[in-house]
């Protein structure tokens, strides 16, 4: 079976969704002729035409605002925000319109819009190209927020997001775009809004999503050499959170470490820690620990390796948890 990169897997997923439903549109900056700056939409305009794969003006509010109108007209727009740090001009349209129109209209209007955002750092980029803004969107009622971590999920989750009748913010870990995996298209996928244990273990539960899943799996492998048995859960969905597998795991291990690139302060880890504490209080052997970016703006790329959680910082937090 052929190996496939995450970028290509999402591309294949988009293609499958467009084949399946003529109402699916792809729109964004450079998504057409160029195929996107990460080539995730490569070849789609050639095959589906300029009416369905739309090179837009450089205006993110315009992308989301017109997507609202297209959705009202019965289309299913898949909007690409070129980089995480460029989503903010569209923030008002996403938070005040996309997220609220179903509620405002008492369900008469649906917003089946997917907002694809390549996110996270580690690629040596300039300012605004390495951010992790997921908490802003997970905080907003009316949106659903997911993050894929590998090519298999990239292929399936984008199709599942497109077929969702609610707006989905779809985070893609840009530093993992070129990582490969074998994709068996005949194997049915997990439901979209579910988390999943990707490595079983007994001693500590490690929770991650997007780019940090791989980091955590590597950390778990390293810890195993020291005799520590780490369970890793890929959260996959950030809103709603699927806490069932998390609670089950923590009741078993008594310890949890949440890992993300976004700053720890009021990040996803804060909410996850609170929920674990509420549901698993008597099982906990240690406070829920968090590893993430610092409360600084994303730094110049020459020091981003210090800013981003890496294997050593994750293992250091595992040791702190075990020390309780």
């Amino acid at each position: 079976m052929a190996q496939i990169t995450l970028a290509k897997a999402v591309n294949n997923g988009l293609r499958a969704a467009m084949d399946a439903n003529p109402k699916v549109l792809v729109m964004g900056e450079d998504v057409g002729k160029l195929g996107g700056v990460f080539r995730v939409t490569d070849g789609l305009q050639k095959d589906f035409g300029e009416d369905r794969v739309i090179d837009t003006p450089l205006a993110e509010a315009g992308i989301l605002g017109t997507a609202v109108g297209l959705a009202m007209r019965g289309y299913r727009p898949v909007c690409e925000i070129q980089f995480d740090g460029f989503v903010y001009p569209a923030f008002d349209q996403i938070v005040c319109q996309v997220a609220k129109i179903h509620f405002r209209s008492q369900g008469r209007l649906t917003m089946p819009i997917v907002i694809r955002i390549p996110f996270g750092g580690g690629i040596g980029a300039v300012e605004h190209h390495s951010e992790s803004p997921e908490a802003y969107f997970a905080h907003t009622a009316g949106l659903k927020v997911v993050a894929c971590a590998n090519p298999i999920d990239g292929y399936w989750m984008i199709q599942q997001a497109i077929s969702t009748d609610d707006p989905v913010v779809f985070f893609e870990p840009k530093r993992r775009y070129w990582e490969k995996a074998e994709l068996d298209e005949d194997r049915p996928p997990a439901p979209l809004f579910t988390s999943r244990v990707v490595r079983p273990g007994r001693d500590v539960t490690m929770l991650a999503y997007g780019p940090m899943v791989k980091t955590c799996l590597e950390a778990a492998a390293a810890a195993a050499e020291e005799g520590k048995d780490i369970e890793v859960i890929d959260l996959r969905t950030l809103s709603p959170l699927d806490m069932g597998p998390v609670h089950e795991s923590v009741r078993k291990t008594g310890r949890a470490v949440v890992v993300h690139e976004a700053p720890v302060n009021l990040g996803m880890g804060s909410e996850i820690a609170a929920r674990i504490t509420e549901e698993c209080f008597y099982s906990l052997e240690a406070p829920v620990m968090r590893v993430g970016g610092f409360d600084t703006p994303y730094p110049p790329s020459r020091v981003e390796e210090e800013y981003l959680p890496d294997l050593d910082r994750v293992l250091d937090m595992v040791d702190r948890s075990l020390a309780f």
Binding site: G62, G65, T66, Y75, D92, R108, T164, P240, L241
Partner: protein, 383 residues
Amino acid sequence: MTESDFGPDLGEVFGLSHDGHGAELVQLLTPEGQRLEHPDFSFDLDDEAIMGFYRDLVMTRRIDTEATALQRQGELGIWASLLGQEAAQIGSGRAMRPNDFAFPTYREHGVAWCRGVEPLHLLGLFRGVDQGGWDPYEHNFGLYTIVIGAQTLHATGYAMGMQRDGVVGSGESDQDSAVIAYFGDGATSQGDVNEAFIWASVFNAPVVFFCQNNQWAISEPIEKQSRIPLYQRALGFGFPGIRVDGNDVLACYAVSQAALRRAREGSGPTFVEAYTYRMGAHTTSDDPTRYRVTEELEHWKLKDPIARVKAYLVRNGVTPENFFDSVDAEADQIAAQLRKGCLELPDPSPLDMFDQVYEDESPELAVERDKFAGYLSSFEGAH
């Protein structure tokens, strides 16, 4: 610089703005009720239609007056009055066909009337019992949008959808459709509105950008928004702009009809600046005496959009006996119904707020609702 520098097609309908042509208002009915001819626009309906417009204008104002009274009596939290803007809304609203779609601000009560929205349904938002009480698809009239200018992008996207559905410039005049985006003078400073102009222009989308320049954005006069007449901005975006007397229902109808036809035919967007005046406050929470002089209001009262239609009808003796009295009586009846309906609007149940957050409700939201329901039922006497 010659006209051809701006392209051969622009301005064929409305004239180029840079040469001064079109700098004057398009006016077809003077404040004194006299019909005028205009070289580019004519009002092609009969006196029967003008009587219909008169009725629309009176009903709209009466609904507005009643809603203001309801707010003053504590039955509405707030009301955004359209006083003075009736002609702009009825003229443009009546120029729409059933297949056309309107995207309103929160002040388009006259357009709502034209689109057949039950007046009572406008009040839910202002009473605080809902956030939009009508089915947009039933009336082809979007929900009121409170964030200034956001709806202009929705309108443009919807128009792009019409293009993809093959109902623009198809040559089948009964199916070809267009969109009207409503907004005010203040909104023209918003990024969203300027982006909507750009998108509609480059995609040649069938949108009529209908700006009611009522001179005031709450307390800020038009001079705080623009150094040039608003309609002249359109040319910079690559489509025609025209200024119409916003208190002249005949001119608003004629200009809107031409712009809509142009959009339906596939010739792209048009900017219509309906030059009018907000005779009331921004909303019932506002106090215009803090920022504008009474003389200005008195000046605009002489240009009242309803008085001039009545003057025309009276002058020409075209109305049947008791026409004006019967319109007034009907208006009072509608106002009484509106008041009764408003007082009877039920409050939503606290648990209703959990409904319709999503099309497919998330399990965690269901849990939150159940917990809150349990909390509510824990009180003595709770049902």
